[in-house]
């Protein structure tokens, strides 16, 4: 029995120290500008290269777009028009599949708000001509600058969220030990019942 524990310790050491190919893929997608971007990776965090990505509508399972991931497991898809939510599905070899639902509503709203405001603006500038003159840069350009700045500021945050998602997908030591505990507990209960049945006879 003692040797079994030695084996266990070695096994854990290998487990905690090495990267791998695996039994599960994960997908993490987000919207960026006019595209849906995302990445596919195995449960240990290594990228899933050349994986087929399909974009579905949530209802009706209609295929909207298809692409493949690059060397870093990253993919880009155009945002389909007129949809509030889409489903992004990754298909890796050997029967691996992962999906993620992505809400588009916010982005669409912002886009529509932008256009309505742009239409209202000329009337405003007529009311306050001096303000409009003071703003030497046009409204549209200003918005573009803000958008770019916000994107720059958000980039590290997005990275952090991605990193967190990866960490959450990795099996933790607690989960592993918990699983082993369940197995022994289950078989323990079984052995107990069997033993009781025998005694009863």
């Amino acid at each position: 029995m003692k040797h079994f524990f030695v084996f266990g310790v070695i096994a854990f050491w290998i487990l905690l120290n090495s990267p791998a190919i695996a039994h599960k893929i994960n997908i993490f997608a987000y919207t960026e500008g006019n595209t849906i971007q995302g990445e596919v990776y195995f449960n240990d965090g290594s990228p899933a290269k050349n994986t087929k990505i399909t974009l579905y509508s949530v209802k009706g399972d209609k295929v909207l777009a298809e692409t493949k991931t690059d060397k870093e497991g990253i993919f880009k898809l155009p945002i389909p028009k007129g949809l509030k939510e889409v489903k992004v599905v990754a298909w890796a070899e050997m029967g691996h599949r992962a999906e993620m639902k992505l809400k588009l509503s916010q982005n669409n709203e912002i886009a529509s708000a932008e256009t309505t405001q742009a239409k209202v603006k000329p009337a405003n500038s007529q009311v306050l001509p001096e303000v409009a003159a003071a703003n030497s840069i046009s409204e549209e350009l200003f918005r573009k600058i803000i958008r770019e700045e916000v994107r720059k500021e958000m980039a590290p945050l997005k990275k952090m969220i991605q990193e967190l998602a990866r960490q959450a997908d990795k099996p933790s030591l607690g989960e592993i030990l918990g699983g082993i505990g369940y197995i022994f507990g289950l078989f323990g209960v079984w052995a107990w019942f069997q033993a009781r049945g025998k005694r009863g006879k």
Partner: protein, 201 residues
Amino acid sequence: MHISEGVLSAPVLIAGALGTGIGTFIGLKKISVEKVPQIALLSAAFFVASLVHVPLGPSSVHLVLNGLVGILLGLATFPALLVGLFLQALIFQFGGLTTLGVNTFNMAFPGVVVYYLFGPLVRSSRSLIAGVGAFLAGALAILLSGILVAFELTFTGESFKAAAKLILAAHLPVMIIEGIVTVLLVSFLKKVRPEIFGQEV
């Protein structure tokens, strides 16, 4: 090895679940009280083995251990792997609950096959013969599992040749490592616990 949810069609899933159900039923009927702790231990070993990654060149592979479990447990491989896979699906989201039947069959059935094919060799008193038997058991169990997965994926429209080629290429190193690990564990167990090879399952 773990087929994800939403890949296979319903008939394949049902067939897999039926196969696993029958295997588990027969396995449970055959188990003696003395064998229960062994099954628990091997179930736990299998549960952890999928998380043990052996570094190999640029990537790495993980152990399955279905050959070892098969050689030691015979038909009781079914309940042992069913429990292990159930917890892997629940805790790590490897595979899934709908594919539990198929996945269990894919890994447990080859275990039972190698038990009947190589069991007599492994039980041989000559260590060389036992070693060869153990290696073949470990390697062939993986090969059979891979073939089963490839066969099931053909029902999704993937061509058997392409799927089998891919799975074979990915699993050839696993077969060799698995064979070696099985030899090591079997020879070790034969030294410290020779009696477990004598027990009928």
